[in-house]
Amino acid sequence: MNRKIGKQSLIFENKPQFLSSAAIVGDVEGKGNLAEHFDLILDDDRWGEDSWEKSERKMFENAVKLAVQKAKLEISDIDCLLGGDLLNQIISANFAARSLEVPFLGLYSACSTMSESLLVGSMLIDGGYANKVACTASSHFSTAERQFRLPLEMGSQSTPTAQRTVTGTGCSILTNKDDENGMNVFITSATIGKVVDMGIADANNMGAAMAPAAMDTIVTHLDDTKTTLDDYDLVVTGDLGFHGSDLLYEICSEHGVPLSEKKHIDCGKIIFKAEQKFGCGASGCGCAATVLNSYLLKQIKAGVYRKILFMATGALLSTVSGMQGDTIPGIAHAVVIERGSRQ
């Protein structure tokens, strides 16, 4: 039977189930709103390594190990590790996979990587190609800052629309629907996002660059699955921030989807406290990844939310593309996460 519906969406028949999750964050995130939900908060974002890049890959590796441990499995039980990060050639993911010694598919869709890894992981499980997959995404403030912006010791100010990259890795272990140890939380459908570029060129305004992609995916998803916003308890976006979320509400209502603050959480808006003063909020692969794998999954498991549309958003720019005058393309992949029964 055809499991593709509409233009871009997929239905999972053998619904992949969350088995466990883990989130490791840096000290600044540990002072934010969600501190109590994270599994591990680092005292120092260098984590005893001599470079931040090495610290990021250590975080990646340990998040996978921690999730595997919480699932009472061995690393060798993982059929496939999926994940990525923001660094060139996704070195954090690649090098973590080197020491984990598991089959590995590296993914990149910038800050949308967490939803991409859940989406591809779900396809592997539903298709019967894997029994257990680890879906991961990671980012690190200090490595991203130096790759995409200015050196850390430069005395420059951030603009009001700038967002702070989250230091953190989130990992979910997915299993098939019959696994009795599972969390009873399932991925039931997904929508593969299109790359959308509305001509925003300001690399300090990623929220505005990504909002149209998020809108496109929401509208397409609702259309493909013949659902409306009323069918969902919550729409979660990755890192649009305050400015980007406002824009999302406006363009969504123009397309007949009355999304508002009541039904929407942006991970970038909730992770830091207002008094931490990080402009428009948080960003980075780790933003959606850590919020999903700590706070959100706990809320769904506890029954606070029954069905959510989880959609991390990514800005697909590089340092070279920006300098050559290209605008910033955005992407958003969506997965539907539902609390339910194994039947």
């Binding site: 260098r46 403030f141 200090s142 800052e145 200015l150 050196p151 850390l152 603009t159 300001d202 300090n204």
Partner: protein, 122 residues
């Protein structure tokens, strides 16, 4: 020794040049590296047109410390070199006049990078 008014003008003119930079950053989204380039080049051009020298006379360090002052030293050196030694002087003058600053920046920059590890921002 400078008088109190000399200090006052150094403060006011120096501060005012920084405000121009701030307006450029806030209103045009220019990055700091572009600001630095813009200020040095403007300093060179203003000096060549004879407009910067009076400001230096008037405000002292207030005009010399901002990067436009670096441009001023470069241009002044190059003009002086050209007057004294012709074409060769035009090439050597600017760098000669600013050699101290550039050499200091390279050495202290190198030493600090060797000694200190960068810290993350909170």
């Amino acid at each position: 020794m400078s008088s109190f008014t000399d200090y006052l003008w150094a403060f006011v003119i120096g501060g005012a040049i920084c405000v121009i930079g701030q307006l450029l950053i806030s209103l045009t989204n220019l990055t700091p590296s572009r600001i630095l380039v813009l200020f040095v080049t403007s300093g060179v051009i203003l000096t060549a047109l004879g407009l910067y020298e009076p400001l230096v006379e008037f405000a002292g360090a207030g005009a010399k410390v901002p990067l436009t002052g670096f441009g001023y030293s470069l241009a002044k050196g190059a003009i002086k070199g050209a007057m004294e030694d012709g074409v060769l002087g035009a090439f050597t003058g600017g760098i000669t006049a600013t050699a101290g600053g550039v050499a200091a920046a390279i050495l202290f920059g190198y030493l600090n990078a060797v000694i200190f590890k960068p810290k993350t921002k909170k």
